[in-house]
Assembly symmetry: C2
Homo-oligomer: 141 residues x 2
């Protein structure tokens, strides 16, 4: 088994490379706003929804609960998110965007969409659609 051939067609690595490349330029943009990658994922995940528990959020932003918990402290301090006890089960904490957080999230999402197009310019519209469809199927969503 040749290593070159192996790793060049090894799907997890292709995915990691593609994720790295297609977010590199936008991450520099995030930095300009003083927003970290994890914060951006939290903002984008919560945008348009009605709030999520810390647990659910941790799964969606691909971060451990303890890391997220500390970032939420910081984001709450900046007035971007709010936390309140879950209505049914008071052990859970429901995280929602504040108006300020939602405004920032919308602003960043707009910029992200521009970068997305630019950073995936090697694909035409049909290929991009197909790629998304395959990824969604892979992820079961």
């Amino acid at each position: 088994m040749s290593g070159k051939i192996f790793f060049r067609t090894y799907l997890p690595y292709l995915l990691a490379q593609a994720a790295h490349r297609t977010s590199g330029t936008f991450h520099r943009e995030l930095k300009r706003h003083g927003v970290r990658e994890l914060d951006w994922r939290v903002l984008a995940t919560l945008l348009g929804g009605r709030g999520k528990s810390v647990n659910d959020l941790a799964v969606e932003v691909l971060a451990p609960q303890s890391t997220l918990s500390r970032r939420l402290d910081s984001m709450a301090g900046e007035g971007l998110i709010a936390r309140r006890p879950g209505p049914a089960d008071r052990r859970t904490v429901i995280v929602t965007l504040t108006d300020k957080g939602a405004a920032l999230a919308r602003d960043l999402a707009h910029t992200a969409a521009e970068f997305e197009t630019r950073d995936t310019a090697a694909l035409d519209e049909e290929e991009r659609r197909k790629l998304k469809q395959l990824l969604e199927k892979l992820l079961g969503t």
Copy 2:
């Protein structure tokens, strides 16, 4: 713009999620061997090749040069890789696998291939092939 709709179809996030999911189980396997994710990328990248400069390697393993440099110290200490000055330009350092490193790399690559199939079972063979092809085109390889 709905957040749910936005982030669910935002390609960099789909890629990050897919990369995360398709490597999660194998990373636990790596841990069992005492191999870190970065080490694994170095091993797999060098497998079957004739060695690479630290700079080129850093790009391929998606890590900063300084991080890689320190990991290489450790991997050299474990007898997995060797470093020698470049023949043409003596500023460069050429990294190659030792026999021990190559054996470990082949072993891990074999296991990785099994996990790859398992972790992408939601796609059939044709879809997997198409996904790889689109990713390769996106990456320009």
